[in-house]
Amino acid sequence: MQRWRGAPMSLGRARFPLWLALSAVALAVVALWSFSVGRFPVAASDVARALWSAATGSESGLANHVEAVILQVRAPRLLAALAVGASLAAAGAAYQNLFKNPLVSPDILGVSAGCALGAGVGILLSLPLMAVQGLAFVGGISAVALVVLVGFCLGRRDAMLTLILTGVVVGSLFGAGIALVKTVADPNNQLPAITFWLLGSFASVMPDDLAIALIPMAVGLVPLAALRGRIDLLALSEDEARSLGVDVVTLRLAVIGSATLVTASAVALAGIIGWVGLVIPHAARLLVGARFARVLPLSLVLGAAFMLAVDTLCRTVAAIEIPPGAVTAFVGTPLFITLLAATLRK
């Protein structure tokens, strides 16, 4: 009997509803803060009145320009940050289960590199923003398709390791493509746009882009939520999962496809923003245990809150916009080391 070992149960397990509620409150507070601050500060009470009137269709009694700042300037950007944060965190949670490794992130299958190359080519050809996003999406999906295809051709033994290594190789191949695109890009207007895009930005998100990106995000999130009970079994060894009645290959393809769709839509909307998909699901798992039915909802809420907080800082702390990808790296690195230490202590 090892009675002296640790607490009788992981505290988080019993407290899933509590953690979810706390995260939701944090999300609401961050959202209120994000609506209020900026070059044109708005009182929290005015934010509440404007949102209430938008929801109910009643008259807010606010000045037109105040209402415009809240609903037309800040709301789309805010929603984009929430959607991207939630998407990246959810995709990260799924990838971590898929690879049985709590330290992988949505970048692992070359998704980000593929998206970046697609977007870079779009910018190079001076295509409109919509087409750039479309190409980013195509690039991300192609990278994953290539990885999965090569993985399958190389055989079934140690399929996960093959997939990860192929992801790294394909990622660097696409990375070389990006370098090539940057070399031939016009240094005066195209290169800054590509560089800016590589670090992500919510500054230029239009309501139309948002509406278009939300559809594939939702399409990818639905199977992840629906298959939550089966996704747990992907965290076991392949032999175990198969002997328990799981069609592992089909389930893996479904999860890879869904998580990649979600990631690619997020990247197409706001560029490459790292760390969210790594740190947030890791933190969620530390709080409530590994069950995907808990990790997924908590990751969605925490990811949304984290991304919004980061973007709000990005547009308020300095006179110029800071790229959110840089901030998530600055915040994410120490956070990740802390989480890693906590995991190792466990």
Binding site: Q2, R5, G6, A7, P8, M9, S10, R13, N97, K100, P102, R157, A226, L227, R228, G229, R230, D232, L233, A235, L236, S237, D239, E240, R242, S243, L244, G245, V246, D247, R285, L286, G289, A290, R291, A293, K346
Partner: protein, 261 residues
């Protein structure tokens, strides 16, 4: 009603590990698979579980070829108990066992109240019910192994295939797992387990399979098959099976390797 193999060839693609192997596992018996490292024990077990295709011959589950069983139906009849690994995610013991109910519920549903009851009952039957809500990271290796056996029980499969269930366990935990295996047999479950310890076969098995270089050099009742000669030929050095008298007057067979000459 058995799990059986006739003229089984097994291996990976071009690399043939064994050919022409026949064996069977009945309900309510314990069969021990013994063999030196590299003799093909794991490959044989994976083939018997349907985790890799046979190169020749068929594995029959209840008379029907294993590959013709739908994966969910197979999972309800034939369960696999792997070695306890350290690399699990932070699931609780109960959550691990509930995964054994996957083949009993729809693709889109989580564990039902019935699944939770069955999982809890499986843990309690192995004497680890009080650890149900502990993290897998906070229990001992033996308790984790019992959790994996409980997961196999939760599938309600009548046949269990265990890959070295006592590997990596200390002596006390090995005895504990073996005791539980003996009790499962009383419940009518057929168990095939591989082990590196012939004495475990002497303790819990009804029959043994002796595997060397991919073929069975002996199989049958423990008493008749597990002789000094058979073990010596299996492991390539002199091993003596001897009787020791216990303090309570009982007798027990033990294996003693000879000192090297």
């Amino acid at each position: 009603m058995t799990l059986s193999a006739r003229g089984l060839g097994f291996g990976f693609g071009n690399r043939v590990v064994g050919t022409g192997l026949s064996c069977h596992l009945d309900a309510g018996e314990v069969v021990c698979l013994l063999g030196p490292n590299g003799s093909g024990k794991s490959t044989l077990m994976r083939t018997l579980l349907g985790l890799q295709a046979s190169l020749a011959g068929d594995v029959l589950l209840e008379g029907k070829p294993l590959r013709s069983w739908p994966i969910v139906e197979r999972a309800r009849r034939l369960a696999y108990v792997p070695q306890a690994a350290d690399s699990y995610f932070d699931f609780s013991l109960l959550e691990l066992v509930e995964m054994g109910r996957a083949a009993h519920r729809g693709l889109l549903s989580g564990p039902s109240a019935e699944d939770k009851r069955a999982a809890m009952a499986a843990l309690q039957s192995l004497g680890v019910g009080h650890l149900a809500h502990r993290s897998l990271h906070a229990v001992s290796g033996g308790e984790r192994q019992l959790g994996l056996i409980a997961r196999a029980l939760a599938t309600e499969a009548p046949y269990l295939v265990m890959d070295e269930p006592t590997a990596n366990l200390d002596y006390g935990n090995q005895a504990r797992v073996l005791d539980e295996i003996g009790r499962l047999k009383e419940r009518g479950i057929g168990i095939l387990l591989s082990t590196h310890h012939p004495e475990q076969a002497l303790r819990v098995a009804d029959r043994v399979l002796l595997l060397r270089d991919g073929s069975l050099i002996g199989q049958g009742d423990v008493g008749a098959t597990l002789t000094s000669e058979a073990l010596s030929s299996l492991y390539g050095r002199t091993i003596e099976v001897a009787t020791v008298r216990l303090a309570n007057g009982g007798e027990r067979l033990v294996c003693v390797p000879s000192a090297s000459a």
